[in-house]
């Protein structure tokens, strides 16, 4: 049925000249309400995370023991300015959530970017070149895939104590094979597509074809899926924190805040739950934006704009 519809597609209205596909994609995405909700929510959170700790007088790492375990508003016993209560050492939960958001996003996003770049370039290369390169890269991928993250984590984090870069390295290492696999399978499909052959005939080098033509086709769908992985990476970071291999104090991340607060969960639920909520909201916003962008991109490529 789609064939019929395509066959009968209304000729696209003349589009403003000068608008690149990316701009058009963003325009469409902006027009969608889910994208706007996601963007506003995410922007608000990130803005708060950047600005509030700068202007607020509350120090997220300053220990104020006298005001420990204050419940959040509006539970009985809450105190201004601790809207979301305080933690086991009397630090403001809101402020720690916001600062934690910064670090967690830093870790989550950097990790995903890292594994995206490593995984996709290896996968693309393997899929595009085929033959020996493919065989070697894919066996390596399988091997990496079958080593549980946790074992990788203790070995690497055992060598260099858990710093943010080391954690990113560990998470990235354990995550790239999936991307390599996906990128490879897509590249394999693209390898014999007309436009690739076309470029070859024109005399383009493999590298040019891969970077300029295959990558823009292959990568965006994977990139949108990668948004989901930001969440996973943030959670893995917290599992490391839970095992004592997380980011070292006093730096708060969602991971170590939730992990530390786990034992207070029965008494002071808010310490672990608030960062969890922040995480949930920010990730849902990211997801909304991601899926809206994906749809916008499809719309652009289908010519509905």
């Amino acid at each position: 049925m789609t064939d019929i519809v395509r066959e009968n597609a209304v000729p696209p209205a003349a589009v403003k000249r000068g608008a690149t596909p990316t701009q058009r994609m963003l325009q469409i995405a902006f027009a969608r309400s889910d994208f706007r909700i996601g963007l506003i929510g995410f922007g608000l959170l990130v803005g708060l995370a950047i600005l509030l700790p700068l202007v607020s007088s509350i120090d997220p790492v300053k220990i104020a023991y006298s005001s420990k375990l204050l419940p959040p508003f509006p539970a009985e016993g809450w105190k201004w300015p601790y809207l979301l209560g305080t933690d086991q050492l009397g630090r403001d939960v809101l402020m720690r959530c916001l600062v934690g958001l910064r670090y967690s996003l830093l870790i989550g996003v950097t990790t995903v970017v890292l594994m995206f770049i490593v995984g996709c370039s290896l996968g693309l290369y393997a899929g595009f070149r085929g033959g020996w390169a493919d065989a070697v890269i894919m066996r390596l991928t399988d091997a990496q895939l079958s080593i549980p993250m946790i074992i990788l984590a203790i070995t690497i984090l055992g060598v260099s104590r858990p710093t943010v870069p080391a954690i990113i390295l560990v998470l990235g290492l354990s995550g790239w094979p999936l991307y390599a696999r996906v990128a490879r399978s897509v590249a394999l499909g693209e390898r014999n597509r007309g436009y690739v052959l076309g470029e070859r005939v024109l005399g383009a080098s493999d590298l040019r074809i891969m970077l300029l033509f295959v990558a823009p086709v292959v990568l965006p769908p994977i990139a949108f899926v990668a948004v989901l992985d930001i969440a996973r990476m943030m959670i893995f970071e917290s599992i490391l924190g839970f095992l004592g291999l997380g980011v070292q104090p006093p730096t708060p991340t969602f991971g170590n805040v939730i992990a530390d607060a786990r034992k207070y969960l029965l008494n002071a639920w808010w310490i672990a739950t608030m960062p969890g909520l922040f995480m949930l909201v920010s990730l849902t916003c990211l997801n909304l934006m991601g899926s809206a962008l994906e749809r916008a991109r499809n719309a652009v490529l289908r010519g509905e704009a």
């Binding site: 066959e7 209304v10 608008a19 596909p21 597509r193 076309g198 383009a204």
Partner: protein, 607 residues
């Protein structure tokens, strides 16, 4: 003759998109008598496929049936309830689509799926009975060894065999009407001709009415008694097929007919001239190693190209024709130097390409360019048009500004409006896309263009326009063309010399007039006989059409590879693999008995 089996009146379908409404099917009305074959002709986009689906109410958003009646066997389909609809669709009305390979679940055996369909439209039939019925029909549509093939999945069938399967699927419930929507479109000419002959046989023995839809009037003319002509959603002409072909009443029908390229009547075939050679192919072979299924480390040698030699001269149009699997696409890749031959030599302008360094090869590539078949897949979807045309120049190190200037010149030359410069290829028609491809090749100032089925995705009008463009470009730039095509009419119009390929080998190489008027190889004749045409075919099907399908390139018959289907085959054909034997005028054919049977009846009427 009783009343009509199907009576359509005032049928209207609308397409809604982006707030706009367009009538895709408009006020259509016609009637179909029992056992009749009614043709429906229209160009791509005329709304015939939508009409076909509207008849069985298989229309979904963004399309909507807005008016009319479809009375089938006395019942209005459009107002029938679910249960009544279920009793008609797939049961009383069968449907065959244009994509046989995608029409069944790829995972399951075809037999079980047809049985499933039969039992779901006729719940009373038992499993064994249904199976019997399906097997019987398999035999009737001449699927070889039906018992074994019953258990095979769609991917194990060729397109032609799969279309036969779909015919069984449509006929299995003994429908009184079958809607055949463009069923020969994806098939090779000989296979399509076989299918049409098959349908003609079946409907005579079964008495089933057919609504036979096609974009080609010659195809319809082979089978339909009456024909409807559709244009932009409306029926513009209706009448007996012969009358329409001979005396079209409407202007639109006349243009349709005028666009059908002549093959024998009033043809001015291009005449070969002498010139220096541009491209020289000498005894080229290419064999692929394909992993053998069901073995640990076994490989099959697929002989895709077997000792092909020819020469393309300057300013010459050289045609290569053949059906699926004949090695055309491999040859294309070899000619475009995307792959290297296993043996033999491809020389361009006197230089053996395999001897060139990769630098000079890149430089050399500018002079021979390939235009690909698929106008949709061959353009990167995310690049604006002008940038795409600049691309080849950028690859070869031309500056940005210079590239933009040359690209704009090329766009003008191929007739692309500058409005498209910043647009994505999406929404452009196939013709416009191919113009982009031509422009991309053009900016490199090549000497040879290889056209791999370049025009096959285009409708007649666009094809004609592009052919004019090719001629014009050849006049200005002095190109040579290699047309690789399955379309004999196109080759007839454009090419000076033509090679016919069968199973990786050239079976006949001749100038245009010889090939079409006095072909020497039986396969060439079979191809010509299968051509749908409104003219009287010089090679009537009853005499020349082949049966069956080509053997697998993995297990070629010994001796002459055509002998398994050849009506002239004799004992020595089994032993001797004939080379291209030179006849007169530089023509050649690969047949041991080419002079013997020129006048005899040539059909292997095994059935």
């Amino acid at each position: 003759m009783s009343g009509p089996i199907l009576a359509v009146s005032n049928l209207g379908v609308e397409l809604q998109r982006a707030g706009k409404t367009r009538r895709v099917v408009d006020d259509v009305g016609f009637a179909l008598a029992p056992g009749e074959v009614l043709g429906l002709v229209g160009e791509a986009g005329s709304g015939k496929s939508v009409l076909a689906r509207a008849l069985v109410r298989a229309i979904s958003s963004p399309l909507e049936i807005v008016s009319g009646k479809v009375v089938f066997e006395g019942k209005d389909i459009l107002s029938a309830d679910r249960r009544e609809l279920m009793a008609i669709r797939g049961n009383r009305i069968g449907f065959i689509g244009a994509n046989p390979m995608g029409s069944l679940d790829p995972r399951l055996s075809i037999g079980s799926q047809i049985v499933e369909k039969l039992r779901s439209v006729k719940p009373g039939i038992g499993r064994a009975e249904a199976r019997e019925k399906v097997l019987e029909l398999f035999g009737r549509v001449r699927i070889p060894s039906p018992d074994a093939r019953f258990h095979e999945a769609p991917f194990q069938f060729s397109g032609g065999m799969m279309q036969r399967v779909m015919i069984v699927d449509a006929l299995v419930s003994d429908p009184s009407l079958v809607i055949a929507d463009n069923i020969t479109q994806p098939l090779d000419v000989t296979v399509a001709a076989q299918i049409i002959r098959l349908i003609d046989d079946l409907r005579q023995s079964l008495g089933t009415a057919f609504l036979f839809i096609s974009s080609s009037l010659p195809v319809v003319a082979q089978i339909a008694e009456r024909t409807l002509v559709m244009q932009r959603g409306r029926i513009v002409e209706e009448g007996r097929t012969e009358d329409i072909a001979a005396n079209p009443g409407q202007a639109y029908t006349r243009t349709l007919i005028s666009r059908i390229p002549p093959i024998w009547n009033n043809v001015s075939a291009p005449v070969a001239t002498e010139a220096e050679a541009v491209l020289k192919i000498d005894n080229v072979t290419r064999t692929y190693r394909v992993r053998r299924r069901n073995t640990f480390n076994g490989f099959n040698a697929v002989k895709a190209i077997r000792g092909v030699s020819f020469t393309v001269k300057a300013r010459e149009n050289f045609g290569i024709v053949g059906e699926s699997g004949c090695g055309k696409s491999t040859l294309t890749r070899l000619l475009a130097w995307l792959e290297q031959p296993d043996s033999g030599c491809i020389a361009f302008l006197g230089k053996d390409l395999s001897q060139l360094s990769s630098r000079s090869l890149t430089e050399f590539r500018k002079s021979f360019q390939l235009l690909l078949q698929d106008p949709y897949g061959s353009l990167p979807a995310n690049m604006p048009v002008q940038r795409m045309i600049e691309e080849p120049l950028l690859i070869h190190g031309v500056g940005k500004a210079e590239a933009a200037r040359l690209a704009q010149e090329a766009m003008a030359e191929v007739g692309l409006s500058m409005e498209f410069a910043e647009r994505l290829p999406v929404g452009l028609s196939a013709g416009q896309r191919q113009r982009i491809n031509i422009a991309r090749a053009l900016v490199l100032k090549p000497q040879l263009l290889i056209l791999d089925e370049t025009l096959s995705a285009l409708d007649q009008v666009e094809q004609a326009e592009l052919l004019d463009l090719f001629t014009r470009l050849q006049a200005t730039h002095g190109f040579s063309y290699v047309f690789i095509s399955h379309d004999l009419a196109l080759v007839r119009r454009m090419c000076h010399r033509i090679a016919v390929m069968y199973l990786g080998r050239i079976v006949e190489l001749a100038d245009n007039a010889t090939l079409f008027e006095h072909p020497h190889h039986p396969y060439t004749r079979a191809l010509l006989s299968a051509m749908p045409t409104l003219e009287d075919n010089r090679f009537p099907r009853s005499r020349y059409l082949l049966d069956g399908e080509p053997p697998s390139p993995i297990e070629l018959p010994s001796g002459c590879s055509f002998r398994s289907r050849c009506p002239r085959a004799q004992g020595d054909c089994q032993r001797i693999d004939p080379p291209l034997l030179v006849i007169d005028g530089g023509n050649a054919a690969a047949c041991l008995h080419m002079h013997e049977a020129l006048t005899e009846k040539e059909t292997a009427d095994v059935e």
